[in-house]
Symmetry: C2
Subunit: 370 residues, 2 copies
């Protein structure tokens, strides 16, 4: 991504300072951090930050530790990198002074309770005291609408995944082991120009396919049973996410029927999506079809979710929280039906919402029309 | 792990209810959840929980969603599995009623600020109202002292990693690419009886080795330069973590000297560790040796950290927070010296602290004594 992209994003962020009543914003969420600065490091664990951003109207600081200084300087060209020793909290006073902070916005959806208490203590004891303002979904809202450069990368990520999955499905034979097939997927992804997998591949066969978040087992895949592949790559930070359910040989009419219903639910949902439509409406279109077919109790998860720097991000497409779908959003549509002990069918496409409807980014391979 | 292990852990936890003044404890942290229940699912993202535990003196509930119900029932035998629909917050009232909760302990070191606000609102509006009590390091403290069964698995995890790394180092030739070498490590781990890597392998050569958290590049490894391997496996959930710095051919006297200093710092630290010694003292023994040799500014990170279900956990072994080292703790000792632009040396062993001193769990292969 060119440097101007990060400058544009900072300008957008800064235009929100006034309405939010903040004079500085503290960014700790790894994808938000990368989105605004270009700094690619992830957090190795929840409670281990590789750095955070402090942004004011005229300054942009990246606070990190010595493990990441060089990387941060290289990747976050628009930020001044400050290296703290051991504990970032101890650097807060210095940063408050330097930025002349009075009202600091923080990410309420990411800051851990304990850390909030520590920061609040430092902030209130600072002279002059600093007020903490929780911000909700600020950068997440920006990330929801993808820029052309992001769409290009997401398209590449989806195409790469589709190609790899098609090859693995072509090679698939009864007698292969779930774990080995998943490993084959990882290996093929690694041989491409990708960062790696976006999440551990799911390969779930027979009764395992009835678990929407199946863990890999040593189960041998057999003929006629549903085999669910839920897979994603990461290319230049951007994730793809797609699901196919396939059968080696002929499925029973029972699963043919379920497959048909899931595809119909998916197609109807896809056809209903236009800018301005609510996510809950799209969810209910798919859910109603599954309900009417008698499988309402066997579709427990949301219909879809946004995809970008995170495998799951805004917008959510579920039954509970209505969100207006807008041009430039990239998200999945993935209805499923899961019969405990028997098996399941899930189909997932990743789409971009354009002015006049959806364009599917995932390749349309390995789909049946029973 | 046998079911009695989880029962013992719950008993230990329950013995702390009275001093803490709670009648129920809510566990959301994935490793703590697994430690207490056996439920192996991780959280797919920070803001996406695969479930949480509610524990009282006589009940143990696991709240999850339909994606994980079957897995939870299978793995968390001592827990009653409750499946919520869409939003776990909506199930809180029901759970408070059922458990007759008045004072709920929560993990302050893991609960996100936004979620805390939501839960607090539900809790205060509940009839009778529920008070939220932040708990600090409760299960983390239990996890700090490893049980014999855990030590066995950690030993296996470390041995497996040592064997794989020795093989990769034996195969290493000038002209190989960092990324490919790292992939070879992942592949060999996968061929063993392991869950996978504990964290993405670091292979950092030449100037890249000066970055303590180097990212993999397409750099070709060359003769005479330092090449750092920082690698770990996960076996039955338990991590290993080890670092070797190697040279193909002869290192310069400059790096020989640094290597010698780092090893001396490590050896001295290891020899100083006994039950009852403070972590900060051990850190300063290693740090002083590096300082005296003139490289004090080039060792910016902590000396070590605990290893267990998480790759980094208690105890921390650094210069700031003193922690008394005790029998049964498993942690790393990993001094390093990093010369920007030139290269670095880090050596890391993973050890168990026994009654009469440390036992190194990582294999002592691939070490030089210049």
């Amino acid at each position: 991504m060119g440097q101007f992209i990060f400058e544009n994003r900072l300008s957008t962020l800064r235009s929100k300072f006034d309405p939010l009543g903040v004079d500085a914003i503290w960014i700790i969420q790894p994808e938000n951090r990368r989105y605004l600065s270009g700094f690619k490091a992830g957090d190795t664990q929840l409670n281990e930050s590789s750095g955070s951003l402090f942004i004011t109207l005229d300054q942009a600081l990246l606070l990190t530790d010595s493990r990441y200084t060089v990387q941060a300087q290289k990747e976050a060209a628009g930020f001044e990198v400050i290296t703290h020793k051991q504990d970032p909290i101890n650097s807060l006073s210095e940063i408050f002074d330097r930025l002349n902070t009075r009202r600091l916005g923080f990410e309420g959806g990411y800051l851990i309770w304990d850390l909030y208490q520590e920061v609040k203590e430092k902030a209130s004891k600072h002279s002059p005291p600093v007020e903490l303002i929780p911000l909700s979904r600020l950068v997440e809202d920006m990330r929801e609408i993808k820029e052309p450069e992001e769409i290009e990368v997401l398209r590449t990520s989806a195409r790469l995944m589709g190609d790899v999955l098609a090859q693995v499905i072509e090679e698939l034979r009864p007698g292969q082991v779930e774990k080995d097939v998943a490993w084959r997927i990882e290996t093929l992804i690694r041989e491409q120009d990708a960062d790696g997998v976006a999440f551990p591949p799911i390969v779930a066969s027979g009764p395992n396919s009835a678990l929407p978040h199946a863990i890999l087992t040593d189960r041998i895949v057999g003929e006629g049973e549903p085999i669910i592949f839920d897979v994603g790559t990461r290319v230049d930070g951007y994730c793809s996410d797609m699901t196919r359910t396939i059968f080696l040989g002929n499925p029973s009419s029972y699963f043919k029927d379920i497959y048909h219903i899931v595809r119909e639910a998916q197609d109807s949902a896809l056809n209903s999506i236009m800018p301005g439509v609510k996510s809950t409406e799209v969810d209910s279109i798919a859910r109603d079809i599954i309900k009417k077919a008698g499988y309402g109790d066997f579709f427990g998860h949301s219909l879809g979710h946004g995809v970008g720097l995170a495998p799951h991000e805004r917008p959510g497409v579920g039954p509970l929280k209505p969100e207006v779908l807008r041009e430039g959003m990239v998200f999945t549509i993935e209805p499923g039906v899961y019969i405990p002990g028997r098996g399941g069918v899930r189909l997932e496409e990743m789409i971009i919402l354009e002015k006049d409807g959806v364009k599917v980014l995932t390749t349309n391979k390995n789909l049946y029309s029973f």
